[in-house]
């Protein structure tokens, strides 16, 4: 998946590059892999692992069995494991916002 994101003057380019480097440095089964990235004019392109399953809340609407207790347990175990890993590396996800970084698959 390739995702361009508009860049704002405050984060371009050094802060953004260091943040992307940080994402690339993360190695966890429940955090998407980012393989490489390019800067081109005012956009950044990231090459990410392809995830065929789709966004959780969208998938749930067509697959109510995902909301069985056993599946909720799997979902929460995965999320907590990723959060524990991120926090062990002193990375918080709380800064994340789709408003700032709009990702579009092309």
């Amino acid at each position: 998946m390739v995702t361009p994101a508009p860049l704002t003057p405050e984060i371009f380019p050094y802060k953004l590059c260091s943040e992307i480097e940080m994402l690339i440095s993360m190695d966890h089964n429940n955090i998407v892999n980012i393989y490489e990235y390019y800067l081109y004019r005012d956009q950044v392109f990231m090459v990410m692992e392809y995830l065929e399953g789709g966004e959780l809340l969208n998938v749930i609407q067509n697959n109510p069995e995902l909301l069985s207790e056993n599946n909720i347990r799997k979902i929460m175990s995965d999320i907590l494991s990723a959060v524990a890993y991120m926090h062990s590396k002193n990375i918080g996800s709380f800064y994340a916002t789709f408003g700032n970084l709009e990702c579009t698959a092309i």
Partner: protein, 176 residues
């Protein structure tokens, strides 16, 4: 952390959840507090509204996600009618409710799931950040290591349709 950032890696039943775009996740120092508020109001922790917070807000937002997966609705929501007569999210009222921090666990939907699940949810939605456990501590929680027997919820048809209406009607209005 919000569900929009959670993606399944496969369409089959052996899926893994992957966090995408933790976006520009922010590095933190353990004792330092941040004071920039970002993210959707539904997933906002009480201390985030007050303005001084740390990585414990991720635990709170994971608790909100768990609450939504169980009930189909966020624990804190409020709506008002706008000038065109449409129902819209009342962001200020949601913030007030979060600041009060009262979570309703009385809904009968909680009887569909194991009793061991509720203490985990309550721990994640602990009002005081200092008393809220870390993710690594929560991973030892008994419910995460058991398997549900028959009698517990096998699927959530009703809940998934609730999530559908909640997501499409209100989520974009919920951005701070």
């Amino acid at each position: 952390m919000k569900p929009e950032n959670l993606v399944l890696d496969s369409t089959g039943s052996n899926f893994n959840i992957k966090i995408i775009d933790m976006g520009l996740g922010q590095t933190f120092e353990k004792s330092r507090y941040l004071n920039r508020s970002k993210g959707s109001v539904y997933y906002t922790a009480p201390e985030q509204i007050k303005g001084k917070y740390n990585e414990k807000v991720d635990i709170w937002s994971c608790g909100v996600i768990l609450y939504i997966l169980i009930t189909g609705l966020p624990p804190f929501s409020a709506f008002k009618t706008d000038q065109h007569g449409r129902q819209v999210l009342d962001v200020e009222e949601v913030k007030r409710l979060i600041e009060k921090g009262h979570v309703d666990f009385t809904d009968e939907i909680f009887q569909d799931v194991s009793p061991e699940l509720i203490p985990l949810l309550k721990r994640m939605l602990t009002y005081e950040a200092e008393e809220r456990p870390e993710a690594s501590q929560l991973m030892h929680f008994p419910w995460l290591h058991q398997t549900s027997e028959k009698g517990h919820r096998q699927e959530g048809t009703q809940i998934s349709s609730l999530i559908g209406s909640f997501q499409f009607d209100f989520v974009e209005l919920a951005l701070l």
